[in-house]
């Protein structure tokens, strides 16, 4: 049985590898294999998988990528993730990718889809529009047709049909993966000292480049391995971190939160792995099932319209209650419109519920963690000292 150190080393190596060697190797292993990149927050990876392709998350360049060309594409007041993604593209690090999907999340990622069309005209490029109307016969029908368009686009690329049975099988595979990711999150919420946030992040992040079956095995191995470890409990403050759904925090930021005395018991990192909150039925019409899951059982986040005002921000309150968190940290990427515009509304909801919070901004390449550590440490201490 592999130990925790080995699993984390492997996950960390995948995380640091800006050439996506694992995905390249997967593609090389058999002729005709194809890789489809996707950006945050959510794409239906089941359809890519059903086409026999590898869905690969492209979540920016992190803090190790030197952005040389990417800055020439963006003004200083635009967030970091598109410029590092352009860097990955123009520097050839994504030259093995056969297609890219850009989900509707914000204006920046939306416009990047057009830039990609111009930069890489021979690739399959899909702007993936999701409904902001959640009625079955309105948004649902639109979404089913969008899914069908994705299916047909990938069929063309794959040179073969994607059958309903292919889709059902892939749905089942992703159901299992979602259950395992959720188990990992539940474990962290129950005993955060046994599965530190930085490790959880690396394990989930590995799912961006590994085939889903391999990723599910990795989570199982990790959960099995940590069960045998004796990790001491600290007197940390339990926090939910929110705002991380697109541009990713540096790993050091997550470690700094832990070092400052916080246990991260929930977050919205890499939401694609937890977007659908319940199993998708693997019987019946697969596209309708995916649509139903999206409309009625998907995560709330700033990029989605909340039709019911009373529900606004309640996902955060529920997360706090469910994980027995003592406070919320708003960690938003600089210039992230959805996160930063949503923040005051979410803060009003927390205030009404007497849930303490702090806020700061970061960029994926933020290097200086001392101020964040001090802010988070003070927050954690103040909760320990003065909360009822």
């Amino acid at each position: 049985m592999v130990n925790v150190g080995e699993i984390i080393s492997r996950a960390e190596a995948l995380f640091e590898d800006l050439n996506f060697t694992a995905a390249r190797d997967w593609k090389k292993a058999e002729p005709g294999r194809k890789v489809i990149g996707y950006m945050p927050i959510y794409v239906p990876r089941e359809i890519i998988h059903a086409a026999g392709m590898l869905p690969m998350g492209v979540l920016g360049g992190g803090d190790q990528l030197e952005v040389i060309h990417g800055d020439a594409y963006y003004q200083s007041y635009i967030c970091r993730i598109p410029r590092s993604t352009v860097e990955l593209g123009v520097s050839g690090r994504l030259d093995f990718v056969d297609g890219m999907m850009f989900p509707s999340i914000c204006d920046v990622i939306r416009n990047l889809s057009g830039m990609w069309q111009l930069m890489f005209p021979d690739l399959y490029i899909k702007y993936f529009d999701v409904p902001q109307n959640y009625a079955d016969e309105i948004g649902g029908n639109f979404y089913v047709n969008e899914l069908q368009e994705v299916r047909e686009g990938l069929e063309k690329l794959a040179g073969r049909e994607i059958t309903d049975d292919d889709l059902r099988r892939s749905i089942a595979v992703y159901n299992e993966n979602r259950r395992l990711v959720q188990e990992l999150y539940d474990q962290r919420a129950a005993k955060p000292w046994t599965v530190p946030a930085s490790e959880v992040y690396l394990i989930v992040r590995a799912g961006m480049v590994l085939p889903v079956e391999e990723h599910s095995q990795m989570i199982q191995d990790y959960l099995g391995a940590v069960a045998g470890e004796d990790r001491p409990m600290k007197d940390n403050t339990r926090v939910v971190v929110t705002g991380l759904f697109c541009e990713q925090p540096p790993l050091n930021l997550i470690k700094s939160l832990e070092l400052s005395g916080c246990y991260v018991v929930d977050d919205d990192c890499i939401l694609v792995t937890r977007w659908l909150l319940e199993d998708v039925p693997s019987e019946g019409d697969p596209l309708r099932n995916l649509a139903d899951a999206f409309l009625h059982h998907s995560a709330a986040t700033a990029a989605k319209y909340e039709p019911d005002e009373k529900e606004k921000g309640q996902f955060l309150v529920r997360s706090v209650r469910r994980t027995r968190a003592e406070g919320v940290i708003f960690a938003s990427p600089s210039f992230c419109d959805p996160a930063l515009l949503d923040r005051p509304m979410l803060q009003h909801v927390l205030k009404a519920e007497n849930i303490p919070y702090i806020a700061f901004k970061f960029a994926e390449n933020s290097g200086q963690m001392q101020p964040i550590r001090e802010q988070a440490g003070t927050f954690a201490d103040s909760i320990k000292l003065w909360s009822e």
Binding site: A72, Y73, Y74, Q75, Y77, I78, P82, S104, I105, C106, D107, V108, R110, N111, L112, S113, G114, M115, Q117, L118, Y127, D129, P131, Q132, N133, A135, E137, I138, G139, N141, F142, N145, E146, E149, A302, A303, Y305, E306, P307, E309, K312, S332, S334, F335, C336, D337, P338, L340, L341, D342, R343, P344, M345, Q347, H348, K361
Partner: protein, 441 residues
């Protein structure tokens, strides 16, 4: 993002003699603000909505008064009050990184929500989220909903990412309009929907749209009788705002067109805030919204150097009528859907590049100038690529300046002026080079 009528009242400069169309527009805007602020007294209900993709014809079918927060933010910018409003919103916890239209609006509410006519804006009875071309709108309206706690209608407009509006996209929009928007507007207003009334407004819209296109295309003349960016913002005011589909708008555009045709006949250039423009030296195409806090100063940097804008992207955020779209009374709901999906910022980057390239060629412009707005990612994200592509395709020089819509902190006059002057020199050099090459050949 979006456009409006920059009424210049509130500025300290002496106004030049105004054309009849200018006086008419001024009166229309004054009446608009009186109508909005007087709505409760008159027993009328108010619908707040956005400029791009606004459904003015539909809203009027329910006797609702149309209030546009973007226009209000612009009015505050022109009156140099938006800076205080933005600061107020930031004090309330809104990030310095986000759209200043939103913050100007929120700050204005915190400071009593006073309209340009000095009277308080009434609370809206319904928020109509014509969600087009900009994700910020969605958050903005959630923020307004939190404030006003009234009925909110969300019309989700799919993005035209490929240059092709599919049946799925159109069906989705029509279904939303039919099954959600109209029933909710009926409920709020207590007025039953009458499709013939909608057709009538749409017919009126198309007339005004015809004349607006003729006005915009008049810039193909040399000299151009209009400035299609700074002046164009005045011209689009009625049709992008609360007047599209009204007789008032039709009359305004007929009047404007007659004036512009007369200027063409006389070989005159545009009217500027300082009077008739001098010799036309540079013909430009612009991309991006203007700065409103120093609107006149910004404009002056152009006209005092003889630069006239012959076509602009910004004046298409409320509709791309010049590309052929007209509101169609025979397909009333479908036409509203197509209108929403077709506005400039709902178009993909490749389409935007093609449009700007065509403008440069068709209007015989010297090049492209991008005014990149810190507030507006919908416009700004990708503009540097637009600049390079248009330059490559046309062989004409392009330049880039950065300002903001209504936050005066981001308007640096000397920087902007330096860049513009360098750009004009670049155009001169290019011309000299072309002439030399012509002689050598």
């Amino acid at each position: 993002m979006s456009a409006a009528t920059p009424s210049t009242s509130g500025t300290t400069r002496t106004d030049v003699a105004k054309d009849d169309s200018m006086l008419k527009q001024k009166a229309m805007m004054a009446a608009h603000f009186d109508r909005v602020t007087g709505a409760p007294e008159a027993g009328r209900k108010v619908c707040s909505t956005f400029v791009p993709g606004n459904l003015n014809e539909l809203i009027m079918c329910f006797d609702l008064v149309n209030n546009l927060p973007e226009i209000n933010a612009i009015q505050m910018g022109l009156r140099k009050k938006s800076g205080q409003n933005v600061l107020e919103a930031e004090k309330m916890g809104h990030s310095e990184d986000v759209c200043t239209y939103v913050k100007s609006d929120i700050g204005m509410m915190a400071k009593g929500n006073i309209a340009p006519n000095g009277k308080p804006f009434p609370d809206p009875d319904v928020l109509m989220l014509s969600y087009t071309g900009c994700f910020t709108f969605m958050k903005w309206f959630e923020l307004l909903r939190e404030q006003y706690n009234c009925e909110t209608i969300m019309l989700h407009t799919p993005y035209d990412a490929t240059g092709k509006i599919t049946k799925n996209m159109r069906d989705y929009m029509v279904k939303q309009i039919k099954e959600e928007v109209i029933p909710k507007l009926e409920k709020v207003s207590g007025v039953k929907f009458d499709i013939d009334r909608l057709r009538e407004h749409l017919r009126e819209s198309a007339k005004a749209e015809d004349d607006l296109v003729k006005v915009l295309n008049s810039a193909k003349n040399k000299p151009s009788p209009i400035d299609a960016y700074f002046g164009g913002i005045y011209y689009i005011g009625p049709i992008f705002g609360a007047f599209r589909g009204t007789k008032d708008a039709t009359d305004y555009y007929a009047m404007l067109l007659a004036e512009v045709e007369e200027r063409v006949r006389l070989g005159l250039g545009p009217i500027t805030p300082d009077g008739p423009m001098g010799e036309e030296k540079y013909r430009l195409v612009t991309e991006g919204p203007p700065n409103y806090t120093s609107f006149r100063d910004f404009w002056k940097m152009f006209y005092e150097d003889g630069a006239v804008v012959v076509a602009s992207a910004y004046t298409k955020v409320g509709g791309v009528y010049d590309l052929g779209f007209r509101h169609d009374p025979d397909n009333p709901l479908e036409t509203l859907a197509d209108y929403c999906m077709g506005v400039y910022t709902n178009r993909s980057l490749p389409q935007r590049i093609e449009m700007l390239t065509n403008y440069i060629n068709e209007f015989e412009a010297d090049g492209l100038l991008i005014n990149s707005i810190k507030s507006c990612n919908s416009f700004a994200a990708g503009e540097l690529m637009i600049m390079r592509e248009v330059e490559k395709r046309t062989g004409k020089p392009a330049a880039f300046v950065e300002t903001d819509l209504v936050d005066p902190r981001y308007f640096s006059p000397s920087n902007v002026k330096n860049r513009l002057e360098s750009y004009f020199q670049m155009v001169d050099q290019k011309r000299t080079g072309a002439r030399t090459a012509g002689v050598a050949a």
